[in-house]
């Protein structure tokens, strides 16, 4: 499309050039194209108009682009202007010079001297003719004088003789009416005489003589003979003959006047020169008269040429500037594209000039830029990945990590820290730790620790301290905690606990060498560790105490019995009774002390668990039977009030590795605890109900609590749940991990939050009678089995103890089925 257009434009240009050339050559006077001058003028005008239209279109387009502030328009405009100036200015200059020169030179052709010279030449010619005429006239008069012979024949003879004597070409005698009387000629071809033309006769009638030079030969009919051979310059003289001869000739009185006519051709040399002068004079006059027109002619041609070349120059300027600017625009667009991150290479022009070189280097640059950016990008991604990795490690770390800047403002705090402190600190970034509610003591402790570390100058890079801080109780209620956090808090049970926790914290000062300085504190909740330590210490104490106390107890008991036996007969009845009472007291107390010591020994004793395959369901069923469990009714018959039992034992439970005796004790302890919890609650409720009956006010208060209402239908709700489940977790590495969970639930009042933490420590109990060793023993056994035990307060009230046994026998499937059958039988 474009190539066709350019070919058309080229053809048009060539045609315009040819037209212009033709016009210029048509301006010359002696050209064949002269007749087509108008047509050529019009065609050139049309071409000029077309060019003008083209230029106007281009200029308008450029103006529109300039107005729109289109990119590159100004450069194009500047280029176009420069090119147009380069094209137009010389053209206009030459044009003005030419016009000036033209008019000057044309004016200079016509000066007075040439005019007068030509005039003089013409006059000279005329004078020559006049003198010839005069001479001819005198000859005519001489002939006329001798023509006095009256006879007609004589006239003819005389005329011929006289003509030959005078050397005149043609002589004739005729009457006034035009009748030829005598004729004589030197030309042999023209035998027929030519009568005088009417104009001559007319003049003769007036002036009686005629003398003139004639350029044309005129026929009898009065029209000019256009036969070119006859059209010579000649002299005609007519003189009247004397009246006498006329009379004689006519032979009458009333005779017509006669005339003698002599015709003599002008000598060839004179005629030719005179003609030349005349032609020159005529041409000169024509030129003089039309010099304005001539000037116009050249002027129009020049103007057209100027317009054509100017418009062509402007058009070419536009065209060239567009062509020149286009690669630059491409480059500019390329830079803009690079600016917004588009690194695609721009098309390289096919030419091998500087612009294409520039384009190539630009493309090379964008390639390098792209490579660099890709590298930066990949580095960044790698960094991000490692950051994210670190981040995830940090957030999944159970230890709390807090990072402060030099001003002790929090910069980083991980998820573990928030879990341990039970504070949502996502909004605390950038604030100091003191400003977070409830963390004032911790902040103070950390400050102190850092200060002491600085002061001590031990040379160690970190400090380590153990803090005991009160966990935020009232400050952060459950509603304030984000749900996600709540869900992950295993001990979050309807009530807030504010008992102190023990933190083991390490802190170090980040030297401001690399990156910003600051402080890092890593802490762990070691409450449970301490609890375990305490349990171990208690075990040791118990073992020693049992050992030390048990030895003297037996002699004491034996001695008391002996005293009672020996002295009973020797004393009076009153004394004997007192002795009986005293020794009874000693024996009883020693017995209970022995029991207590046995318990301690039991706790402290660490007999290695003998692990063997056993069916947990069977074990549970066995223990439940001891508790009077009826599989049909699901009730515990023991105790004053019957408690409902709901047992959900999963069939096909794999066999676990465990010590049957120890596990039996575990189940027994848990069931006993659950049962006791329900008993306690019932007793409490009964007491409350009785009080409610006494005092209506307090009853009302309790009604708001909802306890009074629940007491009425407590019978149906008192329930101990025992369930087993197989739990399979799939680890990310693909291996399956199976575990068996035993859960015992009750509908009692649940654990006191204060107790919950330390429930597994010996001597921690809520019961009125109890050693506080039950759960401690359970915990110990479970630990020995490599299991896990968790205490939770259920959301609906009551507690749940769940034990996870992870050591399962290798052949999981087979015994599970038999266990399931047994479960069904039970």
């Amino acid at each position: 499309m474009n190539s066709i257009l350019s070919i058309l434009a080229g053809l048009g240009g060539v045609a315009a050039l040819i037209l212009l050339f033709l016009l210029a050559s048509a301006t010359g006077n002696s050209s064949r194209l002269e007749e087509r001058y108008d047509l050529l003028l019009g065609l050139n005008g049309v071409v000029a108009l077309a060019l003008f239209a083209w230029v106007v279109t281009l200029a308008t387009r450029l103006l529109v682009r300039l107005k729109r502030r289109e990119f590159g328009a100004r450069l194009t405009g500047r280029f176009a202007l420069a090119f147009a100036l380069v094209g137009v200015v010389p053209g206009v200059l030459i044009y003005l010079l030419s016009v000036q020169f033209l008019s000057r030179s044309i004016e200079s052709w016509f000066n007075v001297r040439v005019d007068t010279a030509l005039e003089a030449g013409l006059n000279l010619g005329r004078a020559a003719l006049d003198s010839q005429l005069q001479e001819l006239n005198s000859r005519a008069r001489a002939i006329a004088l001798t023509l006095d012979d009256p006879s007609d024949s004589n006239v003819a003879l005389t005329l011929t003789r006289l003509r030959e004597q005078t050397g005149v070409q043609e002589s004739m005698v005729f009457t006034a009416s035009g009748r030829i009387v005598a004729f004589s000629t030197a030309m042999y071809g023209a035998l027929l005489p030519e009568p005088p033309p009417a104009s001559v006769l007319r003049q003769l009638r007036v002036a009686r003589a005629y003398s003139a030079a004639e350029a044309d030969s005129v026929t009898q009919a009065g029209v000019i003979d256009t036969n070119p051979s006859a059209n010579l310059l000649r002299l005609r003289v007519v003189v009247p003959l004397s009246q006498a001869s006329s009379l004689a000739l006519s032979g009458g009185f009333n005779a017509e006047p006669r005339y003698l006519q002599l015709i003599q051709p002008v000598p060839e040399q004179i005629a030719f020169n005179a003609n030349e002068v005349q032609n020159g004079y005529r041409d000169y006059q024509q030129l003089t008269l039309s010099r304005l027109g001539l000037r116009n002619l050249y002027g129009i041609t020049l103007t057209l040429a100027l317009l054509l070349s100017v418009f062509a120059a402007i058009g070419a300027a536009f065209f060239l500037s567009r062509r020149l600017v286009r690669p630059m625009l491409l480059l500019a667009e390329g830079t803009q594209a690079v600016g917004v991150g588009d690194f695609r290479p721009i098309p390289e022009p096919a030419t091998r000039d500087e612009v294409s070189q520039l384009t190539r280097s630009f493309n090379a640059m964008t390639r390098q830029l792209e490579d660099a950016r890709n590298m930066v990008e990949s580095n960044r991604q790698q960094l991000e990945r490692s950051n994210a990795y670190l981040e995830s490690i940090l957030s999944n770390l159970s230890s709390g990590v807090m990072v402060f800047d030099e001003g002790f403002r929090i910069t980083t705090i991980n998820h573990g820290a928030q879990l341990i402190l039970r504070v949502d600190m996502r909004g605390a970034i950038g604030r100091t730790l003191e400003s977070v509610d409830g963390l004032g003591p911790l902040a103070q402790a950390i400050h102190n620790a850092f200060a002491q570390h600085e002061a001590a100058q031990t040379g160690r890079s970190y400090w380590q301290q153990q803090f005991e801080i009160a966990r935020v109780g009232e400050g952060i209620s459950d509603e304030d905690c984000p749900p996600q956090l709540l869900a992950e808090m295993p001990h979050a049970g309807g009530t807030a606990d504010d008992h102190p926790i023990t933190l083991l914290a390490r802190g170090s000062h980040l030297a401001p060498g690399q990156g910003p300085g600051g402080y890092v504190v890593v802490f762990d909740d070691i409450t449970e560790v301490i609890s375990a330590n305490r349990a171990m210490a208690w075990g040791e104490v118990a073992r020693r105490l049992a050992h030390e106390i048990k030895n003297p107890l037996t002699p004491i008991q034996l001695s008391a019995e002996r005293l009672a036996m020996k002295l009973a007969d020797k004393l009076g009845p009153t004394d004997a009774a007192m002795l009986q009472r005293a020794t009874g007291t000693i024996i009883n107390q020693v017995g209970s002390m022995l029991r207590m010591v046995d318990d301690f020994r039991e706790y402290a004793r660490t007999p290695p668990a003998v692990l063997q395959q056993l069916d947990l369901n069977e074990l549970i069923a066995e223990v439940l039977t001891l508790y009077g469990w009826d599989p049909d009714e699901g009730m515990l018959r023991q105790g004053p009030r019957s408690v409902q039992l709901s047992v959900a034992l999963e069939e096909s439970l794999p066999r676990v590795l465990g010590d049957a005796t120890q596990l039996r004790q575990v189940i027994h302890n848990l069931l006993a605890n659950a049962h006791d919890a329900i008993d306690d609650k019932l007793r409490e409720q009964a007491k409350l109900a009785a009080e409610a009956a006494d005092a209506a006010q307090s009853a009302e208060l309790l009604t708001t609590d909802g306890s009074a209402n629940t007491a009425l239908n407590a019978e149906a709700e008192n329930r101990v749940g025992v369930s087993t489940r197989l739990i399979t977790t799939r680890l990310p590495d693909g291996t399956e991990h199976a575990a068996v969970r035993l859960a015992v639930t009750d509908t009692g009042s649940g654990f006191n939050p204060r107790i919950l933490r330390r429930a597994f420590e010996p001597y921690v109990t809520t019961k009125a009678r109890g050693t506080g060793l039950g759960l401690a023993i359970v915990k110990k056994i479970v630990d020995e089995h490599g299991g896990r035990i968790d205490l939770t307060n259920r959301s609906g009230g009551g507690a749940m103890v769940s034990i996870l046994l992870t050591r399962l026998s290798e052949d999981t499937r087979m015994p599970a089925e038999s266990g399931g059958q047994r479960g069904a039988e039970a």
Binding site: T27, N29, E34, E35, Y37, D38, L41, G42, G45, V46, A48, L49, L96, V99, Q100, L122, G125, R126, L129, P197, S199, A212, A213, E214, A215, D216, V218, G222, V223, I224, T226, L233, A274, N275, V277, Q278, Y281, R282, Q285, Q286, L287, T288, L289, S290, R291, L292, G293, L294, N296, L297, G299, I300, T303, L304, L307
Partner: protein, 195 residues
């Protein structure tokens, strides 16, 4: 300089006029066709016309200096058409050349191959003024019926050197012409027999 610019402007105007459409013929106010009569004679259509001619001084001067003047009579027979441009049935022209021999001071009028010596310019113009029996058309060239004819006489510059043609741009005298004179023309069915 201003004069130059003015000249340039004038030339520009002239060029646009040229491009716009042909050479404009100025119409002299004192030249007009006064009477036209068409005579049918045998196979010929003859035209008699009287034209009032008074030459501008510039033309008279030119003639007196030996420049030949060409006068052309154009006659056209047209049939009007309402739906399109008028149909031109016939167009014919007659050209006279009036010139003076500067050497012999003789005038002549010539048309075609026919030359006529006359005594003066006025005598020569008289030939143009009174056109008699111009056989402008053959009978068979025109269909039978009544048509519209028109006649004008103009100075024919195209016969002169080109510089005179350019002269017409800046002088009305050189664009001398009469207006078109319209007349009716009826072509009879059969040639009339002359008595």
């Amino acid at each position: 300089m201003t004069l130059r610019v003015l000249h340039l402007l004038r030339w520009l105007c002239l060029v646009t006029m040229l491009v716009g459409g042909g050479v404009p013929y100025a119409v002299a106010s004192d030249a007009a066709v006064q009477r036209v009569e068409v005579i049918t004679e045998g196979d010929l259509l003859l035209l008699d016309a009287d034209i009032d001619i008074s030459l501008p001084t510039q033309l008279e001067t030119a003639a007196a200096r030996g420049v030949p003047l060409y006068f052309t009579a154009d006659v056209e027979v047209i049939r009007p058409r309402w739906y399109w441009m008028d149909e031109e049935l016939l167009s014919s022209r007659l050209t006279w050349r009036i010139s003076q021999n500067m050497l012999t001071r003789q005038w002549r009028v010539s048309t075609g191959s026919l030359g006529l010596p006359v005594d003066s310019l006025q005598d020569a113009l008289a030939v143009v003024r009174h056109m008699r029996r111009w056989p402008f058309a053959q009978r068979e060239e025109l269909p039978v019926g009544s048509f519209k004819g028109r006649l004008r006489v103009r100075l024919d510059v195209s016969q002169l050197p080109k510089s005179f043609q350019a002269n017409t741009f800046n002088s009305n005298d050189w664009a001398w012409s009469t207006r078109w004179y319209e007349f009716g023309i009826s072509v009879p069915a059969e040639p009339e027999t002359k008595p």
